[in-house]
């Protein structure tokens, strides 16, 4: 087996730099500064065959150079996949865009640095692998190859091979590795597009590049002239014209082409659908619509209107075919284009003015559920906290299920808090944003936030003094269901479970062969020794028209009130069946650090939609703090759920929890069970429960594509691997076992189970009984 996966999750923090150094060394790389190596989240998959090693790397900002012990005629091949990199050689700095190949001779001096979280593919060929082949002239300087012609062919093949590294059979992989090796000599004969780093041409190219960027920034200026650009960049107009002339074009021609390309991109972008064609034209510097239409037709052969129409149809077709939750792949460009979107959302005062008692006696707080106290369907580091509490305080948090609208009469009516959150009429929608999607619903048109994330979360609660690197301990002291406040049902408790389109069963129905969504309303009997739920009635989802007039053919947007007259209720459902209760909160989250709006559906290192029923009364969860104040949110209350959460939801039932919140400062927990925590850790009276995911930190691992990619690539096999690595690390770091002891113990005493297969990022948990350790502290 030639496949070697690496995940920083296997290692405690102190060991990561060394482990990462090993990963780089096997590729002929090392950290640029001898003393430093990357200690943050990183994953790598590498596979070798007869001296050819291919690897995908995903890690945080860092710089790498050639490893001094790496020899060979073949240069290293490096392909940045996102965001590009910065290349430094004796001749100066250069930006390498994503998708451009770098050929890095092992003997020459260079360094490649990644300014942000990055993903890259590296191909390394050892001398002996290439010996039998004719090698082109030895490469002595770094070359950059643009993705066109043969370069593109190579890039695509490299990218595809890297993507399937884990799934190719040994025979398939060997063939792929040999083909890459065969293509290398031809690649090495390629003429680099941007000239080599010879002084004269290089500076010309750099200036031209700068001019192009200046034009790009000012495309909206209808009166952009060569003189203006030249002045801004500090060169003469004549020199500018000469530089453009040297490319076989002219300034005017170039500018016009760029303007047209910009409109073309915007017209095909669903995120721009709410802008009129003339607005788009105007933004690209066309101040005359008729002129623009003519120019566009002349250039592309269709009118702007026709072009937009065909593109929209194409998008609709692919979106329907994808049928996955979360951001669709092609709309992700919006996330990249709007880095400052959240800034506008950020409230002026970061923390509300609170009179905070300096005394150390723990305080009790109460956070009720109403429209002003919840955020719906997303986590965000930029939300203003509802309240600030101190470590050791207790807080009662009311939470509402987003499924209350499945039977508004029983679960909303008469309940002032729920009515306030769910209030949605033609003129007023109290909680407008539901999900991390665009607020203008420009992707699918479902509604603000697009339902990319569905849970009503109460909070966030800021914890005084919490800083990234700390750990927040949240003890669940009590969970009480929220009874109906409708006089007709007073005191009774109801919940809803939806076998939804995102359920595990959805693609293979038996009966009637038609895909359908079914809602089952349960009544919760929570008194007595053996509390249970019973099915009350069920109905098939029928297209619902929300108060704004949007039709929801499937359960694609949360909180759409179901009109009782629009569905057919079937009683006598689940006759004679009682489901034992397991009250818990599906969502307990701290705000993630990576982006401003994070879909609430996929769980990850920050907690979130864990959907583990062991997180009930009497249990404790430890979560790593990622942002100042920690920003704790709670929601998605469940009355009962099975391991797997197969149909897509639990018995979703509004509940109120009481929590004790304890902050552990990074400097003070060296020998605690939660030292070295980079994942959610659950403690119950009898067990430690570690949460593994398909992608433990999908936001970092996939970069900008994370919120879409995580839905497409979830697998229990990956989640099992993550749970294994985390349990091994826990046993080695926290319990002081050797690797051999840890693996023996895992085989004979640790239970692995399926947490959920419906939340995008699938989960497998590992349960370690505390009674295994005879000297167990606490």
């Amino acid at each position: 087996m030639s496949l070697r996966p690496y995940s920083s999750e296997s290692y405690c923090e102190g060991e990561r730099p060394e482990a990462w150094r090993d990963v780089l060394a096997l590729l002929g790389l090392q950290p640029a500064a001898a003393a430093t190596s990357h200690a943050g989240h990183a994953t790598a998959v590498r596979r070798s065959s007869a001296g050819v090693t291919l690897a995908t790397l995903s890690a945080g900002p860092q710089a790498v150079v050639a490893h001094p012990d790496a020899h060979g005629d073949h240069p290293l091949v490096l392909l940045p996949l996102e965001d590009g990199a910065s290349l430094k050689t004796a001749a100066g700095h250069r930006i390498v865009a994503a998708g451009q190949l770098l050929l890095l001779p092992r003997a020459s001096s260079w360094s490649v640095s990644f300014g942000r979280d990055f993903r890259a593919v590296v191909l390394s060929v050892a001398c002996d692998a290439a010996r039998s082949r004719t090698v082109a002239a030895r490469l002595t300087v770094v070359q950059q190859i643009a993705p066109s012609g043969f370069g593109e062919l190579f890039v695509r093949m490299l990218d595809a091979a890297a993507r399937h590294l884990e799934t190719l059979s040994d025979a398939e992989w060997t063939a792929a590795a040999q083909s890459l090796l065969d293509l290398m000599p031809t690649l090495l004969r390629q003429t680099p597009t941007t000239a080599d780093l010879n002084a004269g041409t290089a500076s010309k190219a750099a200036t031209l590049q700068r001019l192009c960027q200046a034009i790009e920034r000012r495309l909206d200026d209808p009166d952009l002239t060569p003189a203006k650009v030249a002045a801004a960049e500090g060169i003469s107009e004549r020199y500018l014209q000469k530089l453009f002339g040297g490319t076989g074009s002219s300034f005017t021609h170039y500018l016009r082409e760029r303007r047209l390309q910009r409109t073309c991109a915007d017209l095909s972008n669903p995120a721009e659908a709410h802008h009129s064609i003339s607005e788009i034209a105007f933004r690209a510097g066309f101040n005359d619509s008729a002129h623009f239409s003519r120019a566009f037709r002349h250039r592309f052969g269709v009118s702007p209107r026709e072009y937009r129409q065909t593109e929209a149809e194409r998008h609709a077709a692919t979106a329907a075919a994808a049928a996955q939750r979360g951001w669709p792949q092609q709309a992700l460009v919006q996330l990249r284009n709007r880095p400052t979107a959240a800034a506008a959302h950020r409230t002026a005062t970061k923390f509300p003015a609170l009179t905070f008692c300096a005394e150390t006696t723990p305080q009790h707080h109460h956070l009720s559920a109403d429209a002003s106290k919840v955020h719906w369907g997303y986590f965000s580091r930029s939300l203003a906290p509802q309240i600030e509490i101190a470590s050791g305080d207790t807080i009662t948090i009311e939470t509402l299920t987003q499924h209350a609208s499945d039977d508004p009469e029983r679960m909303i009516l008469g309940d002032a808090g729920a009515e306030s959150v769910f209030h949605w009429t033609r003129d007023q929608k109290n909680v407008d944003r539901r999900g991390a999607g665009p607020i203008d619903a420009s992707i699918y048109g479902r509604g603000a936030g697009e339902g990319f994330g569905v849970h009503i979360c109460t909070g966030p609660v800021a914890v005084k003094d919490a800083q990234p690197g700390d750990v927040l301990e949240i003890r669940i002291l009590d969970i009480v269901p929220r009874a109906s406040r409708n006089p007709d049902f007073k005191g009774r408790v109801f919940g809803s479970s939806v076998a939804a389109w995102w359920g595990y069963h959805y693609k293979e129905f038996l009966a009637e062969q038609t895909a359908r969504e079914a809602v089952t309303i349960y009544e919760i009997h929570h008194d007595g020794d053996a509390p249970y739920a019973r099915g009350l009635y069920s109905y098939r989802w029928e297209p619902q028209i929300d108060p704004f007039g949007t039709v929801h053919a499937t359960y694609d947007y949360p909180g759409v009130p179901v009109q009782p007259s629009s569905v057919r209720r079937r009683h006598d459902v689940l006759d004679g069946i009682r489901i034992p209760l397991r009250p818990h909160f599906g969502v307990i989250a701290l705000a993630p650090r990576e982006v401003d709006f994070v879909d609430s559906v996929p769980p990850a290192y920050f907690g979130g939609n864990l959907d583990n029923w062991r997180l009930g009364k009497g249990s404790t969860i430890y979560l790593p703090v990622s942002v100042p104040g920690a920003l704790l949110s709670v929601g998605d209350p469940h009355a009962a759920q099975g391991d797997g959460e197969l149909g897509g939801t639990a018995i979703e039932c509004s509940m109120t929890g009481t929590f004790e919140v304890i902050l552990h400062k990074k400097s003070e927990f060296a020998d605690k069970p939660f030292a070295d925590l980079s994942y959610p850790l659950i403690e119950t009276e009898t067990d430690w429960v570690l949460m593994g995911f398909s992608h433990p930190n999908y936001l970092a691992e996939f970069g900008a594509g994370g919120q879409s990619e995580v839905y497409a690539t979830s697998s229990l096999d990956l989640a099992m691997k993550d749970a294994f690595r985390k349990m091994r690390r826990f046993l080695m770091t926290i319990k002081g076992l050797s690797e051999d002891e840890a693996i023996a113990l895992m085989s004979v005493a640790v239970d692995f189970g399926v947490t959920q297969v419906v939340d995008g990022n699938w989960g497998v948990h590992a349960i370690l009984s505390k009674r295994v350790f005879t000297d167990a502290r606490r």
Binding site: L646, M720, F724, R728, E741, A744, V748, V750, V754, D775
Partner: protein
């Protein structure tokens, strides 16, 4: 009702395979009981503690240059020259049986009740009365290609002692890294690739004081129990399948009832792979492998009597405990039929929990719809909120996910 006794001997065991063509070691009637001895195939990891002085174990493990008491080990070729040995280790478990059930026919269901399970104490004077087991972090383990400490890769054997004086538990005695072993026929085994090779303790380095503060709660059970499949004459004992086999669920212990669809006349039940403790997933490749003796009761359910019972439409192994029902999902529910002529080797290339989960879902849905007469919508809702799916094992080529539903869910009122 008659009570039978089936001790271990070279005549009452078959090693590494299920087979419909092996002569039964015992024939009994539905309703009969039997005490059946089983041996762990890992006893050779510490001959002194697990074989020496035990006449039954010594007779089965006997292997000198001149005489190998049980020659065939595995479903592989029995004609030389061998790479690893006769049977080639294509299947590794020492199984006692087969037990034939009078009147059993394909389409029937055999119920096997486990009335009691007892460990088999050591006989050699210095260890007499104590019980030992062996755990191997083996080359087929889930961890094997993802090790972080050197040397990579490596196989590690940990010897445990079982304490049954109170609440039973196991403690580690020592461990060692596998070194190439030369078997009595002169074949060198660089890794653990053939069962029953006696480990020469002069070639290994014992490390003591390991897992020093750890007590592993005992879960006595049989890893491998099942019936002969109809597809092939010799079927590797490693991948579990529709007639049971190497399911490796620790819940298959005292008080449990297993149900198996009968595939061949006489059913041909075999049992082995005894375990003192195992976690869900059996991550490193094995449990604490310990010789055990079980008391069993056999009940044959005829094809025509299955309607209206929990066994209606059963085409796969199913577990009943006092509290719950479990169905077993596999990567391939019947890999012998699905993967063609080379299935027994091919299955190892397809291991996946994702497929096993899908199979467990389908089996649980079928159980709820057929046995409990739920509609599909009801079954899916109930599975979401009341059924638990867990990882049975990720080391037996045909990986397993079990689906469990508690019996108190069905309490009617």
């Amino acid at each position: 009702m008659k009570h039978h006794l089936l001790p271990v001997s070279p005549k009452t065991v078959h090693w590494g395979y299920f087979s419909k063509v092996v002569a039964p070691a015992l024939t009994l009637k539905s309703g009969d009981r039997a005490t059946i001895e089983t041996l762990t195939h890992h006893a050779g990891d510490d001959y002194e503690r697990m074989i020496e002085g035990d006449p039954g174990a010594e007779s089965v493990f006997k292997w000198t240059r001149e005489h190998k008491a049980v020659a065939r080990r595995g479903a592989g070729p029995t004609e030389g020259p061998f790479i690893r040995g006769s049977g080639e280790g294509v299947g590794v478990h020492l199984l006692t049986g087969p037990v034939a059930i009078e009147g059993a026919e394909p389409g029937d269901v055999l119920e096997v009740r486990i009335l009691d399970v007892k460990p088999r104490p050591a006989c050699k004077a210095c260890h007499a009365g104590k019980c030992f087991g062996s755990n191997i972090a083996a080359n087929w383990g889930f961890h094997y290609h993802d090790l972080i400490e050197e040397p990579k890769p490596r196989e590690v054997i940990t010897i445990f002692e079982l304490d049954t004086s109170g609440e039973p538990f196991a403690r580690a005695v020592y461990n060692y890294v596998w070194t190439p072993q030369t078997d009595p026929d002169g074949i060198v085994h660089p890794t653990i690739d053939y069962p029953g090779v006696p480990v020469d303790h002069r070639t290994i380095i014992k490390r003591e004081n390991i897992l020093s503060n750890v007590k592993v709660p005992a879960r006595l059970h049989f890893g491998t129990m099942g019936l002969a499949p109809s597809e092939d004459d010799f079927v590797s004992s490693i991948p579990p399948s529709y007639t049971g086999g190497n399911i490796d669920d620790w819940r298959v212990g005292k008080g449990a009832k297993m149900y198996y669809p009968v595939a061949v006349p006489g059913a041909f039940f075999s049992v082995g792979d005894p375990h003192a403790a195992q976690g869900d997933s059996e991550l490193g490749g094995t449990a604490i492998e310990t010789s055990l003796t079980g008391d069993f009761e056999f009940v044959l359910h005829k094809k025509n009597d299955l309607g209206g019972t929990p066994l209606e439409g059963l085409t796969h192994p199913m577990l009943e405990t006092p509290d719950a029902w479990s169905v077993y999902g596999f990567t391939y529910p019947n890999y012998l039929a699905e993967l063609g002529a080379n299935a027994q080797l091919e299955i190892a290339n397809h291991s996946s929990l994702d497929r096993a989960m899908r199979d467990a879902f389908r089996k649980m849905r079928r159980f709820l719809m057929t046995v409990h007469k739920l509609s599909e919508d009801e079954a899916i809702s109930l599975m979401s909120v009341g059924a638990d799916f867990g990882v049975t094992q990720v080391v037996d080529a045909n990986w397993g996910v079990h689906g469990t539903i508690r019996k108190n869910v069905f309490r009617c009122d």
